[in-house]
């Protein structure tokens, strides 16, 4: 692989776009939010995000958005991954390393199956209000 120029990057992007448009997808968007606060970064959120990207590439999914957020108050369970996928409940996974990140793509996004061991419950909203 040689160094890529911006023009080559643009050509690749155009090819990819054509390919995506050609496919008959009825897929709904999947949104993944990775906790990238100091706590998340310290716990390896960057590795988790990189593994998510690689797994999405490997399984050729083209309907996924990855956003990053600061600390969500779940520092004890970082890296956290908050995921909204069609046909699945909005879920937060905790202690997501590279391997669990791959599992999230394969089992949760593609297989529509919760990975119970790593699911974090949201704190009840009344408790949240009391604290604030």
């Amino acid at each position: 692989m040689a160094k890529m120029t911006l023009a080559e990057l643009k050509a690749l992007r155009d090819d990819k776009k054509k390919e995506i448009n050609r496919r008959d997808t009825d897929a709904h968007d999947v949104t993944i939010i990775v906790g990238m606060g100091t706590c998340g970064i310290a716990a390896g959120a960057k590795d988790a995000m990189s593994a998510l990207i690689d797994a999405i590439k490997e399984h050729d999914l083209n309907n996924v958005t990855i956003k990053q957020t600061g600390c969500m108050g779940l520092c004890h369970s970082e890296p956290t991954v908050d995921i909204k996928a069609p046909g699945m409940p909005a879920t937060i996974y905790g202690k997501v390393d590279a391997e669990i990140a791959r599992e999230i793509i394969v089992k949760h996004v593609i297989g529509k199956e919760l990975i119970s061991k790593y699911v974090l419950d949201r704190p009840a909203s009344d408790i949240m209000k009391e604290q604030n």
Binding site: K10, R13, K16, I20, L52, N62, Q68, G70
Partner: protein, 180 residues
């Protein structure tokens, strides 16, 4: 402290983004014995009082997290730089912006590993917000030099939070990191 230097740098960069900067410039200059990182932003900056207190891990402005008593980002980096015979310099003017100059001593036993520059840049480039980020990379030992601009990449790829674009971004940045 953070596990890798790139983790520490990403953490500091995020401060610039969260300070509503329109422009963030980062120099990342590596030689055999040192890594110099300069981060300059035009965000909201800090007054001299805040600037003094921000180095204290038990200080936080309380805006981001109401009930929190600690702010660890900057103290982490000071600890890492100073305990490994590096240096850390923070200048800021309220309303104008902030400038950080850090030197990591790559020869010290206790200096954390470099970490992945590619992953750091993917995360930095794809953070939400309307701002420009210019990354100037130099590796003197490998005679490697390149500059990437977030605005140019968005212009070419579009939304950088779409994973199809992130995959291309990753390929692009990884190719810049190749030996000449």
């Amino acid at each position: 402290m953070h596990y890798t230097l790139c983790d520490s740098i990403l953490d500091l960069y995020q401060n610039s983004v969260e300070a509503n900067s329109k422009n963030v410039i980062m120099d990342f200059i590596q030689s055999e014995s040192s890594l110099i990182v300069n981060i300059k932003d035009d965000g909201k900056g800090m007054d001299s009082d805040t600037l003094n207190r921000v180095k204290d891990p038990f200080y936080t402005d309380g805006i981001k997290h109401k009930n929190r008593k600690v702010g660890l980002g900057i103290p982490f980096i000071i600890q890492t730089a100073e305990m490994t015979d590096g240096s850390f310099n923070l200048k800021s003017v309220a309303g104008k912006g902030t400038e950080l100059n850090i030197v990591f001593n790559l020869k010290h036993w206790d200096t954390p590993p470099m970490g992945s520059i590619v992953d750091m840049l993917i995360s930095a480039m794809s953070m939400d917000g309307d701002f420009e980020f210019v990354f100037n990379r130099e590796d003197r030992e490998r005679e490697l030099e390149y500059t990437v601009s977030r605005a140019e990449l968005i212009d070419v790829l579009g939304d950088l939070t779409r994973v199809t674009n992130m995959i291309l971004l990753k390929e692009f940045i990884a190719s810049q990191e190749l030996d000449n």
